[in-house]
């Protein structure tokens, strides 16, 4: 038992507290400590990946209490991978926030950032359903603070919607947990799995209610249609780096679905077929509505938000197969879509800073037009899933995994058609922002834009280190390139992860057996 398993929760918690207590007034110290903390987190996550790579499920018993009663943290391949993904995304986005000066536009950015990381890492590690709820609340409270960082009317209004929606979601979460507890009498996920498996088939009505409620909760977090309404306004109005970090938060919902419906409600039960029947149509609609939304919107922030919804749709199609092949495709696409969505939000923010606003209309030439256009080009290819980047491989894997599914025709038709729509939509947005605006040049007929431009003039002087912001985006994009180049090894890891997830006996026995030394 390695004590480092709890480090991803404790480290950000200590960092956040330190930052709030000792360096409230000193932005430089905050930056140093916060970036150091995230780097350490990444190192720990790397180590934990090595640890989980052995294939053995690691258990950390808090206070050394015996399992169904005490709280446990669990580390398997999926949890380790999610931790690493969180740390990498957080570090890159944090560098962007520092480089672009976003972290100075309000107070407590870095402290909230660390608490957010604590919540996300805890949600990935915990092996206890109620603790999952608690970590959800931690990450949500921090995200409320980050979401309104910098203030402004629109941001506050979108924030109220975001909070109200998530409060309703938290309420549902508690109902689901209450139902599951009243049926199974336990909240430990492994113990719950044992009791669900032992339950006679005719007594599972309440269990099915609990399972579907739980899926609704995760679907709200993952912004699955028809529960996606909170996302576009929230992401479009949130500060750019915060929206980029939120790319991992939708994945927390996906993680919850994968975890619960492989471990607690595994294959070949009535529960899973109910959920799979609901999940697949929802995923297809999510994909369609996300990609059509890209086409329909006239705001770049919303464009990125709808792109995130679309990628969740693709991801959920793979998850809804509930087969090892589908899950391994989902794991690969999950890595890709997190990096791609993060990069897209950062590039959109760069455009916003230089252009003065994010509406898709003709404006003046931006400083650094060429560089940003190139970055946008790369990320657009990755997001819509064209070769040569990992989006293409990911979509190919998803299609391969659904090749024998009964609904294969629907799935393939939706993926291919929506990809075409997305290509058109992304290239249209890029054309308006980069080419047409630059053709118009300085003397363009964009009077109102130019007049307003004075107050909004891209003030890059606010950004303390603009090169750092660009480097952060390049870092995320190089992650996508690496994911493409090393698709083979990554896929092998994803397959091992899926195999581990679909064979939960090892997980269950790791928690419940061999507890001699515990209280």
């Amino acid at each position: 038992m390695s004590h480092l398993i709890i480090a991803p929760v404790v480290l950000p918690a200590v960092m956040g507290a330190l930052i709030i207590l000792w360096m409230r007034q000193d932005l430089l110290l905050q930056r140093v400590f916060s970036i150091t903390g995230t780097t350490l987190l990444m190192a720990v996550a790397l180590y934990l990946n090595v640890l989980a790579g052995s294939g053995e499920v690691q258990v950390y018993r808090l206070g050394n209490w015996a399992a169904p009663f005490g709280i446990v943290l669990m580390l398997d391949r999926l949890a380790a991978l999610m931790l690493l993904l969180t740390a990498v995304l957080a570090l890159a986005v944090q560098l962007y926030a520092v480089g672009s000066g976003w972290d100075g536009k309000g107070r407590h950015f870095h402290a909230l950032w660390q608490f957010q990381l604590m919540g996300v890492c805890g949600a990935f590690l915990t092996g206890d359903a109620f603790n999952l709820f608690v970590f959800f609340e931690i990450l949500l409270i921090a995200s409320y603070g980050l979401m309104i960082h910098g203030g402004g009317e629109m941001r506050l209004r979108a924030g109220v919607q975001y909070i109200a929606y998530n409060l309703a979601g938290s309420t549902l979460f508690l109902v689901a947990l209450g139902v599951l507890y009243s049926v199974t009498g336990t909240l430990n996920m492994a113990d719950m799995a044992v009791r669900v498996a032992a339950m006679p088939a005719q007594d599972t009505a309440l269990l099915r209610v609990g399972a579907v409620l739980l899926m609704l909760v995760f679907a709200i977090k993952a912004a699955l249609v028809p529960l996606h309404f909170w996302l576009p306004s929230t992401y479009a109005n949130a500060p750019g780096p915060v929206a980029a970090l939120f790319a991992i938060m939708t994945k927390v919902g996906v993680y919850g679905i994968i975890r619960f419906f492989t471990l607690v409600f595994p294959q070949d039960t009535a529960i899973e077929s109910v959920v799979a029947d609901l999940l697949l149509p929802a995923a297809l609609f999510t994909l369609a509505i996300g990609q059509i939304g890209i086409l329909g919107t006239r705001h770049l922030g919303r464009l990125a938000g709808f792109a995130a919804i679309g990628s969740i749709g693709t991801l959920m199609i793979a998850v809804a197969q509930f087969t090892p092949q589908g899950t391994s495709a989902a794991v690969y696409y999950l890595i890709h879509s997190t990096l791609a969505a993060g990069a897209l939000f950062l590039i959109v923010d760069m455009i916003g800073v230089r252009r003065g606003d994010l509406w898709l209309r003709l404006g003046g030439v931006m400083p650094g037009n060429g560089l940003i256009a190139a970055l946008y080009f790369v990320v657009a290819i990755a997001v819509v899933g064209m070769p040569p980047f990992s989006g293409f491989i990911g979509k190919l894997l998803v299609m391969q995994a659904t090749g024998t599914a009964p609904a294969m025709l629907w799935i393939w038709a939706t993926i291919l058609t929506t990809s075409l729509i997305a290509i058109y939509a992304m290239s249209r947005a890029g054309t308006i922002v980069f080419w047409k605006s630059s053709e118009l040049g300085q003397a363009g007929p964009s009077g109102d834009f130019r007049e307003r431009g004075d107050e909004h003039t891209p003030n890059l002087a606010h950004a303390p280190a603009n090169w750092l912001a660009v480097a952060a985006v390049v870092l995320l994009l190089s992650g996508i390139v690496a994911l493409t180049a090393f698709a083979g090894p990554v896929m092998r890891f994803a397959e091992a992860t899926a195999a581990q997830l679909h064979n939960p006996d090892a997980y269950v026995s790791a928690v419940l057996e061999g507890q001699e030394g515990t209280k």
């Binding site: 409270i141 409060l167 508690l174 507890y181 606003d357 509406w359």
Partner: protein, 123 residues
């Protein structure tokens, strides 16, 4: 007692859901509060209803399941904090925006200085 508790949960949930769907933030905050009360009562009932029994094991006697009580305690604390957060946010949005509507204003959908006629056609 079962009837009393379940009808209380049901009525609180119904009222909370209705209020959450209103368009003024005050009603929404009130609705979330009511919903969280309903949930707390519901969680309390998940350990089966027992009257006049202590929440600890003792030899042979009846006891109340202590776990739901711990869960309710946590849920109360969290919902309390959340209500405070949403109140502050609603207040902030009211002071910045001048009204307490929950929906997004037109400025979220169309660019500033957008001609209204074109918007009508577009919509």
């Amino acid at each position: 007692m079962e009837l009393l508790l379940s009808s209380a949960i049901g009525m609180l949930t119904a009222a909370g859901t209705y209020l959450i769907l209103r368009k003024r933030s005050f009603a929404v905050v009130l609705g979330t509060t009511m919903l969280s009360y309903a949930i707390n009562l519901f969680l309390f009932s998940t350990g089966r209803l027992v009257v006049n029994a202590p929440p600890v094991l003792h030899d042979g006697g009846v006891y109340t399941d202590p776990l739901p009580q711990a869960l309710v305690l946590t849920a109360i604390v969290i919902s309390f904090g959340m209500t405070a957060v949403v109140l502050m946010m609603a207040l902030g949005a009211f002071l910045e925006g001048g009204d307490d509507r929950v929906d997004m204003p037109r400025g979220d959908r169309v660019p500033p200085n957008h001609p209204p006629a074109a918007e009508d056609k577009g919509a």
